[in-house]
Amino acid sequence: MRAALKESGLASLVMLALMALMVGVRIADVPGGLEIQWRYADVIAALVSVFFGRLGLILMREGRPMSMAVVGGVVSVVLLVLLVIAPISDAEPHWARAALPFSGYVVNVLLLIVLAALSLRAVAIMRRGPISAPSQASESVMDRISASVQEYSRYIVPFLLAAAILFPFTPLADRQMVDIAILVVTYVMLGWGLNIVVGLAGLLDLGYVAFYAVGAYAYALLATEMGLGFWLCLPFAGMMAALAGVILGFPVLRLRGDYLAIVTLGFGEMIRIILLNWYEVTNGPDGISGIPRPTFFGLPFVRSPAEGVESFHSFFGMTYAPIDRIIFLYYVILVMALITNQFTLRIRKLPVGRAWEALREDETASQSLGINPRNTKLTAFGIGAMFGGFAGSFFATRQGFISPESFTFIESAVILAIVVLGGMGSQIGVVLAAILLIGLPEIFRELQEFRMLAFGAAMVLIMIWRPRGLLAFRAPTIRLFGNGTGKR
């Protein structure tokens, strides 16, 4: 018991050190300088929660979950009641609000969730006895899920595809939802594009957003300066991005692993800084606006088109609806993403795809077998960048406005996170991770200020839980015997 108390005390001591200045004091701007405000109520609440939480955990570990279940359960119920009352009660003084341990509402909700989970766990232990090695159990469950996802992918994929195609016609699809769907599919496409570089060729690229930016600027400049349309510019933007990929890839081919990651990050930042400072061409931080929208085989999506041009709705005899354009954009990006996916799946079976995977597994061995690592890596860089460029042009045409602000390092990190969290090389994993990381936070927009915080925490937690990614199950691309689908 003494050891348990000591450990809990230490945990709260660490907590105190973490919070003493950072949480306990807030710097407030006042005219003429800075002022400080004390927030020690929150710190004390956190210390108490950590102390008793740690104590309960230790007791649970030692096979005495009773106290955790009872205390945790009672406190959770009280918290729940308070949390429900607090926003609706108008009574003065706000006793419910005052009784809540933390000043931030969301923090209280978080505490409730953790506490409820712990006490449920304690109850489970009481009923079934201690669960040995819980992490391994969940590990194997997820492994089984990812293996079966792989196995049944021939059924899951058409289902997902049908869901994606029919989505705009479901009652769910209002303007906001379709917008979110477009965003998610854009990231899915970027994830699939980056997967060629990271998943197949094993080149860790932290500057993928550079190619996204090149594609976006290539289209935006061509469209606004020369008046070319989206469909005409799209291949060109992809080519520009691929060229950028090859040029940037060339000097870094000798590097491996982490070094490559940092250098690509540097390149990404360099491109952003150049975009920011090259006023004559890119208009600097003000960006480029008035980028034309794509047309449906020459039919624009506007209510009253220019003289001599027929618009989409009048050609098909429909009434004008602003959402038509959004839905059209959704299908555009969906088709582009699917092309990326098919391209990846097929190029894996070509000699160059095989060479990528061979290089990823063992560079020295594949070199000694006659694979030219320079050309192989450059193709991976170039093709990956090309898809980034396509997605970039789409981004430009969807937004109608681009500026260097949209192409910061955080975007690269998000795309890489989607690839890695989904499970490297897994195409469905990318979809799952994009929905988790992009879609969910967009839906909970009210919690805007906590969005990136939760995003970072999710990256850490998922990696700790599944270091190889959510759906990490890699079927061999080729088998020596059999047709690849049969089981051994």
């Binding site: 940092i262 360099m270 800084i273 915080l453 970072g456």
Partner: protein, 308 residues
């Protein structure tokens, strides 16, 4: 003015001041990379947290009424180092230790996630606006004069150089003369063997993170005192450049990190002094690329022999 020797000396002093910051952060990168072979991507945020700790500590001291500057700086220095190093310790314990032995990419993603988390954590708690702080002490020694152009070495800069040199000396002594340093060097060479011979590997790694974070905290304090303005985003760029410095010096080598830090600081100062300020970050990154292409092991690093 631009071509004179005095201008050059001025830029050199600026570069060395900046270099002190980069060098102190770079040591943290190099120590961690040397011992567990991962890029602690969140190290820049530790530096940022150090700067915030320093600012808050100064404000609290001002409120209490401790205004005698040497005492205030001493207290702030100690408080910042202690509190920030606990962030370093927690970072390793919570985010990196569970992933030891996992694929390298997992550790890198976790580090990026931690970096995003810490940035937003500070932004939520302390607000997004930049925080100015007034100069603590002014004045300096006049070094040389050319017409109206005076080159001064301010007392603040003297303080920064002395502090940096002291810390580097202490660090070198710790690594070469103490049992902790011996454990660190043992873990760096072969972690498994060190564990077999009775080195507490977990503790050594934790303390390595603590040392790195303490130095980054001092860098934060220096940044705050020298530039007078901080915000929650300073860690990203400073972290990248410090990593560049560590790579330039040869990652894993502590003297290399110090040398690299000062070199990057000087390059940046000369670049902004003689060319354009806008592209100074590009200059730093170009150096990184050039070094990696022509001398991948850095200036003082030992070659990494690849075994098949």
């Amino acid at each position: 003015m631009l071509g004179t020797f005095e201008y050059f000396v001025d830029q050199t002093i600026n570069g060395l001041t900046l270099g002190s910051i980069y060098a102190l952060i770079a040591i943290g990168y190099t120590l961690v990379y040397g011992i567990i072979g991962m890029i602690n991507f969140a190290h820049g945020e530790i530096f940022m947290i150090g700067a915030f700790h320093a600012l808050i500590a100064f404000l609290v001291l001002g409120l209490i009424g401790i205004t005698w500057i040497p005492l205030a700086i001493l207290i702030v220095l100690i408080a910042t180092m202690v509190l920030t190093s606990i962030y370093g310790w927690t970072l390793e314990r919570v985010a990196y230790r569970p992933l030891r032995g996992s694929p390298r990419l997992a550790a890198l993603i976790t580090a990026i996630g931690m970096s995003i988390f810490l940035q937003n954590y500070v932004q939520l708690l302390q607000g997004a606006r930049n925080k100015p702080m007034q100069q603590l002490f002014s004045g300096g020694i006049e070094l040389m004069r050319e017409g109206d152009y005076v080159v001064t070495l301010s007392y603040l800069q003297i303080f920064i150089f002395l502090l940096t040199i002291t810390l580097m000396t202490v660090l070198t002594l710790i690594i070469h003369r103490t049992s902790l340093g011996r454990s660190q060097r043992a873990c760096e060479q072969d972690r498994g063997m060190a564990a077999l011979l009775g080195v507490n590997v977990d503790r050594t790694i934790s303390l390595t993170f603590v040392m790195g974070a303490a130095l980054a905290a001092v860098a934060g304090l220096i940044f705050l005192m020298n530039y007078g303005v901080i915000d929650f985003y300073i860690g990203f760029l400073a972290g990248i450049k410090a990593f560049t410095a560590a790579v330039l010096g040869g990652i894993g080598s502590v003297p290399g990190a110090m040398l690299g830090g000062f070199l990057i600081g000087l390059i940046e100062a000369y670049w902004s002094g003689y060319f354009t300020v806008e592209y100074k970050d590009v200059a730093a990154f170009s150096i990184l690329v050039l070094v990696l292409i022509f001398r991948p092991t850095g200036l003082l690093g030992s070659p990494d022999i690849e075994k098949v």
